[in-house]
Symmetry: C5
């Protein structure tokens, strides 16, 4: 069922041919009838899915399959292509080129007279370059049919993912640097967020790959051979996206491992400091504790005669110095201090 | 063999056609014979598998294949579709939309005159919406044959998994937050439980995908082309389920890793406190230990003359202050205290 | 070559038809000739592979392929089905329903007149239910041919794995509980053993799946269509086995991760105790150390005048109390003590 | 669009046949027209993609497909082969045999009269051996057509990866040794870098495998059967590359695990030292602390009579010796000291 | 190009038929011409690839394809089978049944008159059993053609891996025991080495599987149907090898995890000792420190009156005993000491 929180749809119609062009924003579903068939290509873009009546009415006018229409308003579909008697039904997920990593569903019906797209949310979409090309008649889009328009829309949706991935790529590079030099507990949270985002994006792109593949290869009279060449190119872009996504995901996992290693290394560092301090001073404390005992030298010549030796006190400092030096030697032997010259340069 | 702890079966018969409808609860297996063939569609729902006689008798009356009947009462089958001479045998697993993550087996036989479903436990099933649609003649179900009923049942079973996954999704989000901010040893137990639940669900859904695929694609006169379109839609839902399950499983694994990292971070925090306290006070304790020694200043001018200096005691406090300051400087240099300003905002 | 430690084979012959039945234990290979062809089905079961002569002689009499016979005595074969001119050669691995997880090789030759099975070890096998069904003429086995007998044997071998898996399932559940509540160093050893056992079982079952699949699908006149339906059912069981095995393996891996987490948690707990004790008492020890110094208050008014204050000693206890309270407050702030109320209940 | 930071292209033309050979560097695109068709094979190599006009003009003259040309200037393509009406479009990634692990894109068009290659950056490429073979007429290259030239170029690009992998292989071996003997925090950073490099290389080689496979197998009149045999050989090299890459990646992951283990081992070592020192001296410090107490032996015979014993002080040293020996025995029992003779030799 | 460090080749010719047999070691390539065609089967074994001339000459005489010959001398090929006009080219990797895990390349050409094998290093190969069978005319080898000889050689190479794997299996078992009972830092190094060896072996065996599969299935007149049955058997052995390799690799990974767990457990053990000692003695040290303070009881009645109590000193020992008992109780409650009775026996 349609989500009641969705706002009322805005219906934009762009109808065109090699010579003709008309763009109009309509309010009720019936107004679109005037365009269909009177122009080589009519593109109806419905922004918002909140009004069940309008959508049902559009379905009746344009003879959209009820099952597909149900999928249109249920906005958690996986990207897919379905072929009905005389129309293609395409579902994809679109991303806004912003900092947010949320995707919205785009459902598209393609037939030889029109393309209708349904978007989930009101503000913003990836279609502006397509509209601009139609308005200014740039490229070949005005000369071609509905299938080329559908390709252009699909291509715009796919290309919308690249800037988002670029931002993620930069974030990963930054995290890589941070993890190697100065990671903090917040770093792992950010690594996790990036991995989560990549998972979300993959859920949107992975089935899109299959959908574009079906469009480019499966026999249907609705897609011309010429458009298929363009779709093949679009398919390549989807593969490239996935390739990038997978690479980032692998780096993300590596980063987590690297983070864990760096935390362990830091722990080692902390423990070394504690151990060195303790190892030096705990025996010394014992030593001075010995001569803090109150055995009475008067009672017995065996009771702490050192206390009355002329150089007794100096001897203590001497022993202290010997112990400290021995320990430093021991730590050096263990490799805990000094000589930490590590080769970090790359072999030529 | 039938599980002896199962209760006696309740047999509900719903027989209908475009014009006719009858619903009845019968006690003995023979009563169902009256319906078969007299209505376009007869749906027999058997709730409980405890009574071997009733089930054997139903098998005889409806000519169900013995091997399939054996699978029906053995409730640990994997979801599957099997084609016998003139009937389809479908096994699926159904989940109650409750907090429990247990599934029960549903076995279904489909033939052109009837659909018979066998459920494992007595209370509750996912079929109520289907029954309601038949009773109120909503949608197209009353106009269609047994294959459409079978589709409706399969669809109801599959859709029954979504609310459960939604609950798990919320739990995962909550765990994600908890792990990043304030995880406790109990958190890892809950993460493990969620992962275990997801594994159980996947075991139920994964083979269901294959079964629905077989129903939608494999040639059999028992399923009409029109119903296949509906089944294709149902197949999409199964894919969507699996997609969600896999995503949740990956997040679950990531959560575990995150948890381990957060435990390590906390350990680091604890060790830092210990090390700082020890590193400051252990040398100081040595220092004051030194002047607690009882070397006799009377015996020799070399024996602890500091004890009689005018400012000896103040000097000790001075040395203490110097050591503390040096240590604080050292900790600051190591990045153990202060300046912990971490960028956590996302790049625009 | 035959393993010399194997004992002398025991040859058991069961020959039967719908009306006839004979069971006999023979000593030399030649005795089996009497049965072949005189009964619809002759089942020769050879228990033990130690006597190369007997096995070679059996091979000659029954015209078993030399390569297959070589595989029979070499008991480390992977389960497989091989088709020779007029016989099928099947290798499977059988498990005794005991606590041990060892499997033994069963090699079987199938031809239209006889089935011959070779077992590795002497005591015990999974075939008793099959023998019993033949002896008592229960089910359809006496009416059917050699292919049905072969199916019954394969089915008995496959079903023999289920009780073993059930035991492992219970062990895993127990380990799960143990790891979450009170794991010990021995727990990880037991988890490892279970994982190792599952690996061994999978090596036996995974290729068996393929073998049963080949039997059920590949065209051969030796297997009738009716038997194929039964084999399909047996194939389902194999899939179910593998499904269970994989699930257990995944839980096993999760358990290991859980164990590592629980060890880390316990370490954290230990470190907290150490750090709290040290953090409270090390500064206090310093404090009392200060007043254990022997600076001479007689020499200078600056030398430890506190020692002669009226409430000096009480002041020390006061400072001690303040430090302890401050530390407790600090630990509470860090979340190391108190308020550990964790939600462990499941969301409704 | 072309990257504006790219420099102006350098166009090098090598035209040849069995008898003829001409090599020339041209400035404007139109100069290449003179060669096409007048030599059996014309190879145009464009170094740098900065000048959109030149590239567009070349596209017009040589009738290169616009979509392919777009891919040529957009330098982030995945390796691929695309077949247009009368030309093949091949994209690969080339690596300079230097320390850097960056790859540059090479786009190639193949038709029966010419091969045109577009390189990304100006200095250096892997083509010198091919040019040399043409100039000196070594091997069969001068006798063959454009397809053989294309093969030679593809082969040179693939072979260019081997020296880079060899360097990585040596680095991995060095890291392996370092991790086992004397790893430092920098080691994990280097392991991470190697893994990252391998990921980058795999992204370049993995799709190249597919591309070479398509060239060797897919039917196209542009590639002769003879050249296909050579391409099959080149395909083998790609497989070998990937095989090596995957092996190195697995070793890389193993190395990381090894590193984590070695860090844990070192931590254990540190903790052992700390624990041994603390366990020996903390009780001893308590002991000497006891006899540092100032209970007045004069007030009561129960107040520290030991202080006046004749051998009191010696007794303390005796107790100290006993405690130390007991601890050493305890540590030896725990396996913390001594007897660390580990078998590291391999079983024969 | 041929590796210049390789030694001069030793060429051994074995020519035979059902009745005839001749074995000779030749020096120059031309001497082999005498055998070809005069015996049903001629086997030329070239040991060492250092002499480019000899190999080129052999290529000319036997009409070996230049590309294949190039692969022969370049000893880093992956195992493969390639079909040329009238010969098969097979590359495999052979292992010496020694402690070393290095493999050497074997290249083999098969044609209806001869088999020629090229080995990499001089001493030792896996072919001795084959030579022995030919010399003694054991088995069917003398009756069969070149294809059977090729099979026998391939089979000998594959079987040569089993003893090596057996040694590794024993090593793994030993490591398993060691890790569970008494692992040392050296253990992880040995686990890593075994994993590395298994990776190397898999690189040799994995493509061999594919190669043997191609030999057994692909249609070529050079391999008779009878030999294919033998090759199928050899293929089974390869699968078995891989199966074993994969199992060992999984156990290897499990071992690593087990090792990490055991290190963590040992760390826990160490920390417990440290914590227990510190937790008991640090508060006690504070206590005795208190009574080591020099507050003057003469100045004020509040200044340490305990020092003059009659049972002051005994009270201290009493408090000490109470603290120790309380701590022991606390440790027991935490489960750090005593009651460590773990069930390690297996459920029946």
């Amino acid at each position: 069922m349609p989500d009641p929180t969705s706002a009322r749809p805005v219906i934009q119609v762009i109808a065109y041919g090699p010579q003709s062009f008309e763009e109009q924003q309509v309010v009720d579903a019936d107004s679109v009838q005037r365009f269909i068939g009177n122009f080589p290509v009519t593109w109806i873009n419905v922004d918002g899915l909140g009004d069940a009546d309008t959508i049902r009415r559009l379905g009746e006018i344009l003879k959209l399959h009820p099952l597909a229409l149900e999928d249109t308003v249920n906005v958690h579909q996986r990207p897919k292509v379905e072929q009905y008697a005389d129309q293609l039904f395409i579902v994809l997920r679109m991303i806004h080129a912003s900092a947010s990593r949320d995707t919205e569903q785009v459902a598209m019906f393609l037939n030889e007279h029109f393309v209708i797209t349904f978007q989930e949310q009101l503000p913003g979409d990836s279609f502006e370059p397509v509209r601009e090309r139609i308005r200014t008649s740039r490229g070949v889009i005005r000369e071609r049919g509905c299938d080329h328009l559908a390709y252009a829309i699909v291509d715009a949706i796919i290309d919308g993912f690249f800037p988002v991935l670029e931002v993620i790529g930069e974030e990963i590079e930054q995290l890589e640097e941070e993890t190697l030099s100065a990671s903090s507990p917040a770093t792992i949270g950010r690594i996790h967020t990036v991995k989560h985002d990549l998972l979300t994006l993959r859920r949107a792109v992975w089935p899109a790959r299959e959908a574009v593949h079906v469009l480019a290869r499966d026999p249907t009279p609705l897609v011309s051979d010429e458009t298929r060449i363009y779709l093949r190119d679009c398919y390549d872009h989807t593969i490239q996206l996935l390739d990038l996504l997978e690479t980032y995901r692998e780096i993300g996992s590596d980063l987590r491992d690297l983070y864990v290693s760096s935390v362990s290394n830091r722990m080692n560092e902390i423990m070394k400091v504690l151990t060195m301090i303790s190892t030096i001073f705990i025996p010394l404390s014992f030593l001075v504790g010995v001569y803090g005992m109150n055995f009475d030298p008067d009672t017995s010549p065996y009771n702490m005669p050192e206390l009355r030796w002329q150089y007794g006190y100096l001897m203590i400092w001497g022993v202290t110095a010997v112990i400290v030096l021995a320990m430093v030697f021991f730590f050096r032997h263990k490799g805990w201090i000094g000589q930490n010259v590590h080769r970090t340069e790359r072999p030529a």
